[in-house]
Amino acid sequence: MAADSYDDVAKNKDSIPSLEVPPQDLYHAKSWWTKYIFCQDAKVIGIQYALTAVAIGMVGLVSSWLMRMQIAFPGVIPMEAGAYYQLVTMHGMIMVVYLLTALFLGGFGNFLIPLMVGARDMVFPYVNMVSFWVFFLAVIILAASYFVPGGPTGAGWTLYPPQAITSGTPGGDGLGIVLMLVSLAVFVIGFTMGGLNYVITILQARTRGMTLMRLPLTVWGIFTATVLALFAFPALFVAGIMMTLDNMLGTSFFMPAIVEFGERLTYDGGSPILFQHLFWFFGHPEVYIVALPAFGIVSDLISVHARKNIFGYRMMVWAIVVIGALSFIVWAHHMYVAGMNPWFGFFFATTTLIIAVPTAIKVYNWVLTLWRGNIKLTIPMLFAIAFIITFVNGGLTGLFLGNVAVDVPLSDTYFVVAHFHMVMGIAPVLVILGSIYHWFPLITGRFLNERLGRIHFWVTFIGSYSIYFPMHYLGFMGVTRRYFEVFEGDNFTYSIIGINQFITVAALITGAVQFLFFYNIIVSSKFGKKAGKNPWKACSLEWQTPDVPPTHGNFGKELPVVYRWAYDYSVPGADKDYITQDTPPSAVANAKAEQT
């Protein structure tokens, strides 16, 4: 451990001490309640976030099973159209916001940020604790909508008015849509507390020597995503408030004069397209809120398990930042055929395709990290490889949809469903799964079972690819999404029933194997093989804690001092094939490290 005193560091020309971190008084738990429930330890809060997100995520998973059954085997599970649309809606909203966003930022962010930057905890542990409980409340409100008359909203996860608040949509004239909007508002409030914590911790509480350009890419990904979320969620928040006002008080922010089922409603003068602009001003950055942490984490997984530094670190950091910035000026590519001024198409198609460049750079650099590496095909590495294939596939289909003229025939078809599931559903989930296998030994001190893990990996990867790759071709045929019954219509040159049945079977299997994974987690946390300290021989700080699993306060008596970046793998001249971030240059005098 870094026992060097501050003076030693100052004398050492190789390291630049960062801001001096004032010692933090941590609230140590005194009872079961403050240790496991109202806990102020970011690691526990991270796990609370993760468990809650996965629990509600199961509702999303089972929803998708039921939807797929209806599409491929109608009648096997009897349901009405309204119920189908409720499943579609809740599946989408749960997966995007309550599972992926909460898991990446609240879960991984809380667990990893303080450990990786060398801090004892988040800078505001109390607010952090409140953040989780507000998120928990949002989930409860969301779940409550299943139990109100009329059930949850069936407006589609995009909640487009006017239909979201009119009687032709399930939950539109009842409490379903109200609870959805309230839940989202509460979620944004909770997220803001957590998000400010993540950003300030990364900016202010890094340990000595941990410059920004020495941060692991995981931290860069989570940091940038959090900044995006802090800017993007307010747009969703105001859109939700305005729609609630339209719904409850009869204002007309988004509601024009309409005649519904022969009856003239009292609204007049509002703009449905205004809602779409606000929604996607949030919604597009949201894609990157999910993707950027995955980009960062997968970079670290690849580097550790290929025993090689991440290729082009600085380019990788800039790519993350540029993607984050550009993600705020591409939102209307979701609206090419929404009826907005068609001349917008030129601008948004151009900005959208520009984003392809930094994104491609990231892909090249992942692959070039494998090149001339020393690749251990561990389970985290397998998931990382699967991520690259899935993400490249989903990213490339983005070039179809982003290119405005190509979007016209494909928009609102299954091509879109396939694209976004590949790129922001499956790809990030593969990273989440890989990183659970990677960090499980740090969280519990034990490995996950290898054999179960490999079965889980292959079924998940091949299964999810089998679901979404053929689905693109339904889109080419013009099969529209959000259809309760998919007709064999005259449009379709070849039967779509068979392909839908294939997809459904693949989805059932892929979903089911996740329960094997949960079983693995439960059993291995008690009986798994003991991992010991730094089992993957990783360089970054989270593996250098004196205790495994790390205790409250993370680093024992003294915070580590950082002398190098997080990627000194296979440095020529060094004794071992990795040099941890807190190894002073004097300890590895022969190593010819280029990057600091």
């Binding site: 159209a81 005649v259 380019m315 690749i375 025939p409 296979s570």
Partner: protein, 281 residues
């Protein structure tokens, strides 16, 4: 080894599915061949990238498998390679974007002389309106909508009188006649989409959206609502029948004008003002 082989299989299997699976788009029936061409071009460029990355990764997995006696290369950066890749990518992106934007320019520029007709969407069926003898669609207002006037035509607008109203899900159009569809929704969002025509646009209550196309083949084509519009969304279907002139005229002669519709309901008095104005014109 197995992993490398499987990566190759997934990559080449995707290509094989694309080449040989029977699921592909139906033959185009409109002028928007440019959209199909751009899609095909996009396929070539993105497909090449997909295969290149997949195979290169498989090679790396096979070639650089872990060996405890070996070390990975140590090369943190290689700015020449990084810039070269950036520039190649930029060129590829331009090659995709430029033709796409040209097609879009055509899509948003309605040719002069296009025949304007109206499509109205409401939960969960379609209605259509043709301009009639004067060639001009009468103006509408949602406040006018009632059982006698389902389109909400302004009864004091002389152009309304001869508008042909088709309160049914099926529409006949004339082959090779360029159409501008004025799209209107009465309640929530809808989207008038015929896969064989490729084009689509949402219909938004409170405003009139549009797109244009020229049907190039006769036949019957199914209409799908492409924007989620509530519980009945999936059943909001209809047919467009593209006719030769003779069949089209026969169908047209069976349709009623606004004036005739009102007369048959005994409500002729509603459009007296408009008729007077029309005589003045």
């Amino acid at each position: 080894m197995i992993v490398a082989v499987l990566v190759v299989l997934v990559t080449l299997g995707s290509v094989a599915f694309h080449m040989w699976s029977p699921w592909w788009w139906s033959e185009i029936a409109s002028n928007w061949v440019g959209m199909d061409d751009t899609i095909i071009l996009t396929f070539w460029i993105t497909g090449a990238v997909f295969v290149a990355i997949g195979l290169f990764m498989a090679y790396c997995i096979w070639k650089y498998k872990y060996n405890k006696d070996k070390r990975a290369d140590y090369e943190p950066e290689n700015s020449k390679l990084e810039w070269a890749l950036t520039i190649i990518t930029t060129i590829g992106v331009i090659a995709l974007l430029a033709p796409g934007l040209i097609v879009w320019k055509n899509f948003v520029t309605v040719p002069k002389g296009a025949y304007e007709i109206e499509v109205v969407g409401q939960q969960w069926y379609w209605m259509y309106r043709l301009p009639g003898k004067d060639g001009v669609l009468g103006t509408t207002d949602i406040k006018n909508i009632n059982d006698d006037n389902p389109f909400g035509l302004n009864t004091d607008d002389p152009h309304s009188v001869d508008d042909i109203l088709i309160d049914a899900d099926d529409l006949h159009i004339l082959k090779d006649q360029t159409l501008k569809l004025n799209l209107r929704a009465l309640d929530v969002l809808h989207d008038f989409y015929v896969p064989q025509f490729r084009a689509k646009m949402d219909m938004v209550p409170g405003m009139i959206t549009y797109y244009w196309f020229t049907p190039i083949k006769t036949g019957t084509f199914e209409i799908l609502c492409a924007e989620y519009c509530g519980t009945g969304h999936y059943s909001m279907l209809g047919y467009v029948i593209v006719d030769e002139e003779e069949d089209y005229n026969e169908w047209l002669s069976e349709q009623m004008t606004f004036e005739e519709t009102l007369a048959s309901n005994g409500k002729s008095d509603l459009i007296k003002i408009a008729l007077n104005k029309k005589n003045d014109l």
